[in-house]
């Protein structure tokens, strides 16, 4: 190998290393980095999005201010997590009884392509009567998810269908619209119910 060729290889090697480092920086710390996760949702008063509830009413974050609120993201084509969470929520609401009557309980779809207003109306009718189903344009769903720091992603399945990965936590806000806490997916009722009570009783 001539000296010139050796130098060429060395140079190529250095370029490759620099590129790798550069790509690494871009993806971890640079502009290509994923949005920071584990952030708290912003206050409802700071969110901006326009959706429709399952009765066709125009709704947005301001609709929720004035009462304590519970929000959950999902989709009606979800066979396991969503019905389980909605049944959990229904159970917690039953446990709270009259206490929960003043509460907003909202299920926001991350799959508006399939979850029309009618689909949401039928779906929520099987759960606790307090549960409202919100849907709308893709970009408005995206803006809502951004405010709640919720994430979702469309994933193709066998046979040309698709499913959605999504944040399965339940978000709680006090009557002023301030985020109080969240209930993790499938958290037992003995932890969930006191958390809801805290959002209900928060001094405002």
């Amino acid at each position: 190998m001539s000296r010139r060729t050796t130098l060429k290889y060395a140079f190529a090697g250095i370029v490759a290393i620099a590129l790798t480092l550069g790509v690494g920086w871009w993806r971890v710390d640079g502009p290509g980095a994923p949005e920071q996760t584990g952030l708290r949702p912003v206050a409802l008063s700071e969110m901006e999005f326009r959706l429709s509830d399952h009765e066709g009413n125009d709704v947005g974050p301001e609709t929720l201010i004035g009462r304590p609120t519970m929000v959950f993201f999902g989709f009606t084509y979800c066979p396991d997590v969503c019905p389980t969470t909605l049944s959990d929520i229904s159970g917690w609401l039953d446990d709270l009884g009259e206490e929960a009557e003043e509460m907003n309980v909202v299920f926001i779809t991350v799959d508006p392509a399939r979850d029309t207003v009618e689909a949401m109306a039928e779906y929520v009718s099987y759960f606790h009567p307090l549960v409202r189903g919100w849907t709308g344009l893709e970009e408005e769903i995206a803006r809502a998810a951004q405010g709640f720091r919720a994430r979702y992603e469309r994933v193709p399945t066998e046979g040309g269908d698709y499913t959605m990965n999504h944040t399965a936590s339940v978000f709680l806000f006090d009557a002023e619209g301030r985020f109080t806490t969240m209930i993790d997916y499938h958290e037992p009722g003995e932890f969930a119910v006191p958390k809801i009570r805290r959002a209900l009783n928060k001094e405002t």
Binding site: T37, Y77, E122, Y126, R151, T157, N165, T167, A168, D184
Partner: protein, 153 residues
């Protein structure tokens, strides 16, 4: 004496050859099967149950079949540290002797894709579990309400 030993050897050989058929999927017991009702046929359904291996050899569940759905498969739901939940095919499931696997909300479930008819509350459907030793078990699965949380409703 030689004859006795020969007989014993023959017996031992015979019993060991017969072992897989005796100790495999025949020792599997399915309990607490239930499913949620569906809305129409477009959405995938889900069924749950406990599959218990009462034998003394491991068994492997290789798949499920039902005329209710064209693409039934066992799926696993998992939730990552950021609270994002996702589903993936669970593949073959080995059940150690004396152990059980629980298909329950938020974990493993029989995902019933391409429903052939709506899953109506109050009805039943049959589902067949296939095992690697060629054995199969057919269970009757009661369909509960959409908001059911367990085998008791």
């Amino acid at each position: 004496m030689t004859v006795v030993y020969g007989l014993m050897a023959a017996l031992m050989f015979a019993s060991s050859a017969a072992m897989p058929a005796i100790a495999g999927s025949e020792d599997v017991v399915v309990e607490d099967a239930w499913a949620r009702a569906s809305i129409g046929v477009n959405r995938p359904g889900a069924a749950y149950m406990t599959i218990r291996n009462t034998g003394d050899e491991a068994v492997t569940l290789t798949g499920i079949r039902t005329d209710l759905a064209m693409m039934p498969d066992i799926h696993q739901t998992s939730t990552n540290a950021e609270g994002v939940s996702s589903m993936a095919p669970a593949g073959e499931i080995e059940i150690a002797p004396g152990e059980a696997v629980w298909l329950e909300p938020g974990g493993l479930h029989a995902m019933l894709m391409r429903l052939q008819r709506p899953m109506a509350e109050g009805e039943n459907f049959s589902m067949t579990l296939d095992f690697s030793d060629g054995g199969e078990i057919t269970v009757e699965v009661p369909i509960l309400g959409i908001a059911a949380r367990g085998p008791e409703g």
